[in-house]
């Protein structure tokens, strides 16, 4: 754990902190249908054109059920479009490598995967997808699923902020404004930076190179419209790699600087959303308290993962490998153990899932951190929107528990938390837990589940547990040795993505509707303070207790036992 790592980590947190307020203020304008920005001269007419063609009245608002229905209908249409495009890929243009049609179960899995902001990849990008599939069938969801996630968070925040309101906003207005004023401008600027670092953006067929050592050996080098896709993949916490190796690929993450800014891009919008929360509920310190709780969990994860990866694998050291700089299996020289551990933590704190190192080859405790991050609900900054609404569910539970402890009716920002609110919050949390554990149990006790393993022993169990955690949490990273491109896995993983996304969003929107209806009562001396250290400690405690109670037994069978086997035995698998 060298000084460069510490400086970079501090710099990362400081920059994130500095960007939180500007991003939050920008979100505040974008998510206000009347909000004015300097982009209005360009995009206002486009925005109006969108509404006219869509038949949407931007002045009207929706109750939570209508809002949810719009989101579900929109997701269904996008998912079907992607399925169709993938199945017909071989007949469509922009396919210089003559990629064949994507098989039905893989197209099913992939369409769901991108629609749900998961970007789980049962395929290798550069060996499966045409340029059209990459930039249309897949990249459209990098935008739309990100906007949908932010929209849900905005609806929930409005619900909390409003008093005696029937509505929580208009999904279509949120959707269009988030694209035009937030995602597109950011992605455009970011993709230009990425190209400057060496990322490709072209429509050429793959390059044929005669290699230096032996000119008879031909190296076919991937090409295509990568920068435009990668920019939004990071900003929208999608994480689906253009290539199989994702952000470890030298084109997809050419320099340490591109790596640093890609990591910052993951947390940029989620962090800004905490400020948006504070501003909307007129309690800025509450927003910062939520930010603080997230940062505590973030730093804890980074330090454990970094420490484990630097400590390395004693079995390799026994085989004659230098112990410094640490575990290099599945890592790139330009990043090394620290930047790989930092990236792994960030990508799983958020529901991004891009990887710049192979999590499957991490040390047991190094790999435990990303897995646990996902299982805690990805509420540490989290996916764009998904992180905040997930965290707010935990906030409601925390306030409820605190109320139980002191024997008062729980109250959150002047709203009474009632039985209905707790029910929908618990449903949301339980869906994730059941989804992960039941599918994992099914897979490890089935032939189809064990058939895909790349590793045996506890690590094999981890591969399966990670897969269903990742898909349920809409993360998309993997212990990628698992061969998931089978009809059974594609179907079960696809279902777990649907459940994890929409069976979480619907209760969250129900919570938004319920909160909006409530009357705002002024805070009194008896109200539970939601901006001090006590609140942060209780919130972090609630997240850890729910996560630990749910997943400790499963984690014990995977990374934890593997850690002790590595340290205390000579067993290999």
């Amino acid at each position: 754990m060298d000084i460069y790592g510490w400086i970079e980590l501090v710099l990362y947190v400081v920059l994130l902190l500095a960007l939180t307020k500007p991003m939050g203020l920008w979100l505040f304008k974008v998510l206000d249908p009347q909000g004015k920005t300097f982009l209005d001269p360009v995009f206002r007419p486009v925005e109006k054109g969108f509404y006219r063609l869509m038949g949407v009245d931007p002045q009207s608002e929706q109750d939570w059920k209508r809002y949810a229905f719009s989101l579900l209908a929109f997701s269904l249409v996008g998912g079907l479009l992607t399925y169709a495009l993938l199945r017909l890929q071989h007949r469509l243009p922009l396919n210089p490598q003559a990629m064949g049609a994507v098989p039905d179960h893989l197209a099913f899995n992939t369409a769901i995967s991108f629609t749900t902001n998961t970007n789980w990849q049962s395929y290798g990008g550069e060996s499966t997808m045409s340029y059209l599939s990459q930039m249309l069938a897949l990249a459209i969801h990098n935008f739309t699923s990100a906007a949908a996630g932010i929209a849900v968070a905005a609806a929930l925040v409005r619900g909390i902020a409003r008093s005696c309101s029937k509505t929580v906003g208009n999904f279509w207005v949120d959707l269009v404004r988030l694209h035009l004023y937030l995602l597109l401008p950011l992605a455009l600027a970011f993709s230009v930076f990425l190209m400057s670092q060496g990322m490709i953006q072209n429509f050429k067929p793959y390059t044929t190179a005669r290699t230096l050592d032996n000119g008879a050996v031909i190296q076919s080098i991937v090409q295509g419209p990568m920068a435009s896709q990668v920019a939004i993949k990071m900003l929208g916490t999608n994480g689906g790699g253009y290539t199989n190796a994702n952000a470890a690929h030298p084109y997809e993450n050419p320099t340490p600087l591109s790596n640093f800014l890609q990591m910052l891009a993951i947390f940029l919008i989620p962090s800004g959303l905490t400020y948006y929360l504070g501003k909307m509920v007129k309690h800025q310190r509450h927003g910062w308290a939520v930010w603080g709780a997230m940062t505590v969990l973030f730093l804890a994860g980074v330090l454990v993962c970094w420490g484990a990866e630097v400590h390395g694998n004693p079995r390799l050291q026994a085989a004659g490998v230098v112990s410094s700089p640490g575990n290099m299996e599945g890592k790139e020289v330009r990043f090394g153990p620290f930047e790989s551990a930092l990236f792994a933590t960030i990508t799983t704190d958020a529901s991004c899932g891009a990887v710049n190192a192979m999590h499957d080859s991490f040390t047991p405790l190094g790999g435990l951190v990303p897995m646990l991050n996902i299982q805690l609900g990805e509420v540490v900054f989290g996916g764009v929107g998904a992180g905040l609404y997930g965290m707010l569910v935990f906030v409601v539970l925390t306030v409820f528990l605190a109320g139980l402890m002191v024997g008062r009716t729980p109250e959150y920002l002047g709203k009474k938390i009632e039985s209905y609110d707790i029910k929908v919050s618990v449903i949301a949390v339980m869906v994730l837990i059941f989804d992960i554990l039941c599918f994992t149990a099914w897979a490890v006790s089935s032939k189809w589940g064990l058939a895909g393993l790349n590793n045996a022993g506890p690590h094999g169990f981890s591969e399966i547990l990670y897969a269903f955690s990742s898909t349920t949490g809409n993360n998309g990273s993997a212990f990628a040795g698992l061969t998931a491109n089978t009809p059974w896995y594609n179907t079960t993983l696809g279902l777990s993505m649907v459940f994890g996304r929409f069976l979480f969003i619907v209760p969250v929107l129900a919570l938004a509707g319920s909160m909006a209806k409530k009357k705002l009562v002024p805070e009194s001396a008896g109200s539970f303070p939601v901006s001090d250290l006590m609140f942060v400690v209780l919130l972090v405690g609630t997240i850890l207790i729910v996560g630990a109670l749910s997943f400790f037994p499963a984690l014990s069978l995977g990374p934890i036992v593997e850690h002790f086997l590595m340290a205390e035995s000579n067993l290999l698998f």
Binding site: L175, P225, A245, K331, H459
Partner: protein
Amino acid sequence: MNRLFSEFRASIVSTLLLAIVCCGAYPLAVYGIGRVFPAQADGSLLREGGHVIGSALIGQSFSGAGYFHSRPSAAGQGYDAANSSGTNLGPLSKKLIDDVTGRVADYRKENGLDNATPVPADAVTSSASGLDPHISPENARYQLRRVAAARGLTQGAVQAKIDANTEGRQFGLFGQPRVNVLLLNLELDGKR
């Protein structure tokens, strides 16, 4: 029924419009801007006598004694730049330990190291992408004697070329010090 229709109309129309903007205009705009730095946007390709011999960003496989050797690769049959991949072997994988043990022995033999010398980690482990263009400076230093002997050069001359192709931390902070193997070997061949 009317409501249902209006929701799906909005869904379909917005999907089409967003596709035009986000999947048509946007990537084309990025492509257009990319023409300002075509070398990067086209893949940082290296040419020699009219044909492409590789990319400055993508590693290649080297086996000749006179070349510096890249890291082990799990991309296809090795450095397949249309099939990036790591091994995804876990820390207690028997295959991983066997593979690394074999590579350690080979590395020591090739480079004239005794059996007590620990080997640089990057020299015997596979990268995440299978296309890692870099090795660590320590790894290059261990290979120096072999390359110099095979080419009949002094070690000082080869060391100078290693130094010239060593990248430090970006802005003195980001990333790890590293040597670009393809660029170094090109320079040894007098092709740069």
